[in-house]
């Protein structure tokens, strides 16, 4: 990589308070997303992937959660950890934006679609009503909302789920951010619409050179859009690499198990194998590898000592004592 990453997360740790004690939901995550690149973060529910994205946006709920000291979140070189809410408000929606899972509820039912897309522009660019409306129309056409000019005055309930997700993307991209975080943006859509929205995101990424951090649990989606993949388990990254490398030769037992539990059309993998057991709760992670209790290759060392993320220097990393790159 010649250019510096647009979004770089270093040693990110996030804690939540539960029953009087602080528990780590994210334990030392390092991520980097470059211009014109999609990094998919994959993991089961509770693996900390959504919390990672929320933390990057500075949206960890203050009452119950906090980013641990020593974490770094660099957006275009600028560290966001420790910025005030006002400073974060200026960055969010302008240089970095996020789209969410539920297009049905993520739009304000009392505002027209045109007004909602305009609002981002008015808040960050200080545009007047008419200029913002024109710009909103341009962005809605960009995300391929049919007859956008006529639909500016429509309310969200008059849009289908796929169209609403396009409106959300339009709101997020209105100010042409450098980084887009997408938290399972297609999970609530049916498969054909899902493919359309993914294709749209891919087009927009190329056109604007966006850095996209794509959170999902759907490996099919990953195969479709990801340049690089980071697999998360119990709040840490267990394996990273290019999408091709990861799908062809998974190293970490968890990645392997994940791939074996997913049906594939491109090759015969025999019977699907579910992963035995459950993701450990954040309260019961011991000293060793978090996956050890479910791992078929686990040894004594795995249970005693937390493995490090061994890196081959070319973007491939595996956090495992047994099957690591060393």
């Amino acid at each position: 990589m010649t250019d510096a990453p647009l979004l770089q997360v270093e040693n990110l740790a996030v804690e939540f308070r539960s029953g009087g004690a602080w528990h780590r939901a994210v334990r030392g995550v390092d991520l980097a997303v470059h211009r014109n690149e999609t990094l998919a973060v994959v993991g089961e529910s509770g693996s900390g992937k959504s919390v990672t994205a929320l933390a990057a946006m500075g949206l960890v709920p203050k009452e119950t959660g906090r980013i641990v000291e020593g974490s770094r979140i660099r957006l275009e070189g600028r560290d966001l950890v420790g910025l005030s809410e006002r400073e974060l408000d200026r960055v969010r929606g302008d240089r970095m934006a996020m789209i969410f899972q539920e297009p049905m509820t993520a739009l304000n039912p009392t505002m027209t679609v045109g007004a909602q897309v305009s609002e981002t522009l008015r808040a960050h660019r200080g545009l007047g009503a008419e200029a913002a409306r024109r710009e909103a129309l341009r962005v809605l056409e960009l995300v391929k909302v049919p007859s956008a000019a006529r639909r500016l005055a429509d309310y969200p309930h008059q849009f289908s789920g796929g169209m609403r997700q396009r409106v959300m993307i339009a709101m997020a991209l209105a100010c042409q951010p450098a980084v887009l975080l997408a938290d399972e943006p297609t999970t609530a859509l049916d498969v054909t619409i899902q493919a359309q929205v993914l294709a749209l995101l891919e087009d927009l990424k190329r056109e604007y050179g966006l850095a996209v951090l794509f959170i999902t649990h759907n490996l099919g989606v990953v195969a479709l859009i990801a340049d690089r993949v980071a697999v998360m388990y119990a709040g840490e990254i267990v394996e990273t690499g290019t999408a091709a490398a990861l799908f062809d030769s998974p190293r970490h037992p968890y990645t392997e198990a994940l791939l074996r539990s997913m049906p594939r059309v491109d090759r015969d993998i025999g019977a699907l194998e579910p992963i035995q057991g459950n993701v450990p709760s954040i309260r019961e992670i011991g000293a060793g590898c978090a996956f050890a209790p479910r791992c078929p290759h686990a040894q004594d060392r795995c249970r005693a000592e937390r493995p490090t993320l061994a890196d081959d220097g070319a973007g491939r990393g595996v956090r495992c004592w047994v099957r690591g790159l060393a």
């Binding site: 969410f100 993520a106 739009l107 009392t110 609002e119 808040a123 007859s147 006529r150 309930h157």
Partner: protein
Amino acid sequence: MSAVPVAADAPRGWTRRFRSNPTSWFGLALIVAVVLAAVFAPWIWPVDPLEQDIVERLVAPSMAHPLGTDTYGRDVLARLLHAARISLVIGVAAIALALVVGSAIGIAAGYLGGWFDAAVTSLLDVLLSFPTLLLGLMVVAMLGPSIENLVIAIALTELAPFARVARAPTIALKGRDFVEAGRALGFSDLRLVVVHIVPNLLSEVVVVASLWLAAAIRTEASLSFIGLGVKPPTPTWGGMIREGFENILDAPWLAVAPGFAILVTVLALNLLGDGLRDAIDPKVRRD
């Protein structure tokens, strides 16, 4: 694409539910009649409500005086119509004040949460524990009887319901996805509250306003009845009942006519408010 059918939960749906409810229509028609009567009082019955006539005292209803005259020979119909103006203006002004201030307090408490919310909620509980009339009475006694003070007193008695009604949906709305999405787009707290939260709880606050407007009019009448309301000779319904009360056996129309006016107005507002609530409250929706 534009022919997408309107969903059942569409924001416009409640107007249809309201329109199909005959009782709320009746309430609306009554209240419109009262308002028109108040606005056009001098043209409907062009008689001076303050003009005394010592000869024509306590005259029974007749063609010249459809509702009779009072102790000072003043025409009761003219006084009734002009009193409607005072009562409605005071009621609406007090409700508007309570709505704005009360909702602002409730939204602030719900949005900010924490100790501020706890403090405000307990203060509201204290305010609610006073009977409406007693609270209004104390405030007017402290401030002195004038129309402005009456408005302030009545508004104060109805602050708590508005604050409560605005607080609950604020708490629900601030966790909704579109508010969270707005935060992710870098919207300030003020923008989130004004642009995204307020429009979504407005309908609930308006319903409360229509129901409590009736209470405001009743409170005004009660205070005037006790003699802490608008000063004579300005006609008010409560004041007219008090004056008529002294002659209730000889000239019952003096107390009955303003009493009936209050009854009709309060009934109309309650019917209207119930209709609005039924139309908006998802728990009583039938379709």
